[in-house]
Every structure is written in C-alpha cells, then in structure tokens.
Symmetry: C2
Subunit: 229 residues, 2 copies
C-alpha cells in the first residue's frame, strides 16, 4: 500500500473574491455529496509535504500560506457506508482499496491563496471542485462542517498576530480592499478611520501611486506589503 493507513488530511482553502470569503469544496461523482479536499500521506513523506502536494494538485499553486490547526480523531467521523458509495460511484472496486473504508484520523490545515491565480482541479473521486461562499456552503460530509468552523475560528484569532490578510490579496491593493478582507474574515464591519490608522501604524505597508478607478470620487492609494529586510 502506498499510504499510511488511518491517517488523512483535510484542507480548508480560503480565497477572497467579490467582497466575500470563499473556500474550495469538492463534489463527488454522481452522489451530489460535498466535502473538503484532502488526501493521504505517503510512506517516507513528511506530513506537511503531503498537504503541500495535495494543494498543488488541487490548485496548481506552489508556494502557499498553510497552517495546521487541529487533528480530528473522533470515532464518529468513521462512516464506511458513505465512503463505500463514493468509491462505487466513481467506478472503484472495493477489493482494490479496502483501506479507504477504515477509520481515519485527519489532520486539518487551512490555506490562504490568491483567488485569481487558482485553477481548481478535481481529483479522481470528484467531478468538480468549486468556490463556495462561507455563508452559502452546501451540507458537507463527515465532520467537515465542524472542520470549516474551526478553521475560521483559528483564522480569526491568528488574524492580528500573523498578518494574514496579505495572503488573500493581490500584490497591490487599496486600503478598502484590505479592510474588506478583514471584515469578511471577522464577520463584522470595521470603522474605516481606525482600520486605516492601525494598519499604517503597523509599519508593514508601503504606499505606491494612486489607482484611478474611473469612478467619480477621490482615488485611493495602492499599497503592498513591505518585503522583510
């Protein structure tokens, strides 16, 4: 067997578009069941590398901001009947992959990526992988809804300390775009003046020329994150 048995990973892949926070969700063949993208760890492969490999396969991206946030190990996650139907619907024979029906302990990661650069690609068991707004997720299999909720909670609490907004934004962005990312993550609106003052006070932003949007109002500055050094 190619993979470590009983061990899996799931990834909550965040992107930002249309003023909304979104994540990538896979739909399995025929069953109309939805789940987080995940994978397994190869013998001789570091756990973190396995997750990076999985992300590369799903998104085509190489360097991704990635953070492990929890390992889910309840027995109740184990639903062999569900897995059986997924495998059969994808044309697998159960004799070829009995280990897929075993109990799994899953290490969960979240990733922050630039929405525009992603080319989502389904895996062998899925016929599609799509962005879903957090506010409009379909019902997810197993405990994946709890995984998403926990990812969001962790993301929120790490927001201040690790300067996470940068990973969801294009290289240059306006203060308003940055604020929208923060608001989408925190799920609440922020005061414009305070936000601008605080972000500028951190000293991580570099101001560039203005962007002329063609709109009938004052045009905003563009910012980028200073390269550390």
């Amino acid at each position: 067997m190619e993979h470590l048995p009983h061990i899996a990973f799931d990834s909550v892949i965040f992107g930002f578009s249309g003023q909304q926070l979104k994540i990538l969700i896979m739909e399995y063949h025929r069953t109309k069941w939805f789940a987080l993208p995940g994978g397994f760890v190869r013998y001789g492969e570091n756990l973190n590398d396995a997750v990076r490999r999985g992300l590369r396969e799903r998104t085509g991206l190489e360097d991704i901001y990635l953070e492990q946030f929890y390992t889910f190990g309840d027995v109740s996650r184990h639903q062999p009947e569900v897995m059986k139907r997924i495998l059969l619907a994808s044309g697998y024979r159960l004799e070829d992959c009995p280990w897929m029906l075993d109990r799994f302990i899953s290490v969960a990661y979240y990733a922050l990526i630039n929405y525009d650069q992603v080319d989502p690609r389904p895996d062998a068991l899925s016929d599609s992988i799509n962005w879903y707004s957090l506010k409009d997720l379909p019902p997810l299999l197993f405990d994946h809804r709890a995984v998403v909720d926990r990812a969001l909670t962790t993301l929120r609490s790490n927001l201040d300390t690790r300067l996470l907004g940068m990973n969801l934004l294009p290289p240059r962005f306006t203060m308003k775009e940055m604020q929208q990312v923060y608001e989408a993550i925190l799920g609440q609106s922020l005061h414009r003046g305070s936000f601008q003052r605080r972000m500028l006070g951190l000293g991580f932003l570099e101001r560039h020329e203005k962007r002329h949007s063609g709109q009938a109002h004052k045009s905003p500055y563009l910012y980028s994150f200073k390269t550390t050094g």
Copy 2:
C-alpha cells in the same frame, strides 16, 4: 493488533511548584533516555479519550485540563534503532511488537494539573517518571524538545484568552501565587499593581477571608475562581 498503527500521542504535562513551571518526563529502563509520556489510540476509541486515558494512567487524575496543540508528522521523527534499544532494554521481544518500530505521526497535547494532587506512575517501558523544571530539562529523545517548546509557545499565547492559570493552582490561592504562575509561564516578571488590577477587572475571581501566613507582614486575601453560573 490493539492500536491504530502509525498514530501516537505525546503529552506535555505542566505543573507548578516552588515558583517554577515543571513538566513530567519519563526515563526509560536502563537506557537513561528521557522522553515525554505518550501512548497509542485503540480501535474504537476517540483520540481525545485515548489521551485522557493516558493521563489517568500516568497521574491518577480524572478531570484534567487538556488541549491539543500540534501534530508532528516529519519523517525525521522516525528512529527505529532508538526504539529497538528501548524495547530490548525493557525485556520485550521485537517479534512481539514490530509495529512499535514503524513510523509514527504524533498528536501532541498539553495538560495543566495541580502539582500536589499528582501521583506520577511510570509505564511498562519506563522505570521512573519525574517532574523537571522547564529550565533544567534533560536531553529528550526524538523531537520531544521541539514538542515542549511548541507547547510552551501555545500555552503563552492562550494564557490571556482562556484563563489557564486556574488549572495550575489549588482551589484557593493568593494573588501573589497566581502572579507567580503567570510569570513562570511567560518567562518574565510582571508589575504587581497592574497584574492585580487586571485580574480583578476580569471579574472571574472571588475574594475570601485572609490567610494568616504567620509572616511579619500584611496577610493577603485568598481567591478562588468563580464557578460559572
């Protein structure tokens, strides 16, 4: 086999005594090698329950504050030669437990317990389990030193948000004792006035009668944590 293969847990068990933060370390039979207490997950057993079971076996305590903080999955953790010597030194035959030499992915937890209530008990592979001050740890096997460091980092960052001090203190304690716990965790001294003001301001403390220490100075109040209700 009784346990899930390739999956283990390690626990960093914190206690507070003599104004110092300490953790429980096991010493393996004869080898003079030190490591964190850990264990394996049984089939049909929740991961969290397995860790609680392990803690109960090592400390005799039932209700323990426990928090998962990271899952270590690098290939470099795998050192079959070391494990082989430990098993042989304990009188095991390798044929009886070949799975112990496999690669393991380890889910790490930290626990906060009341030092005085613990009765440390070694497991089958160890001849002793003892408290060690964080500042004076022996060299640890595998990646356990990194596990401890990460546990401490997580503990520090969670200190404010989750009112962790309570789990290391007896039911009633003075403000000074509480401050010493905080100082030991944070590794820095705190201003007495600010600390007292902040803690009282949180509203979680209940003040009781004074404790007459017999010392030649003003005696401090005793506090307890309010039972949520």
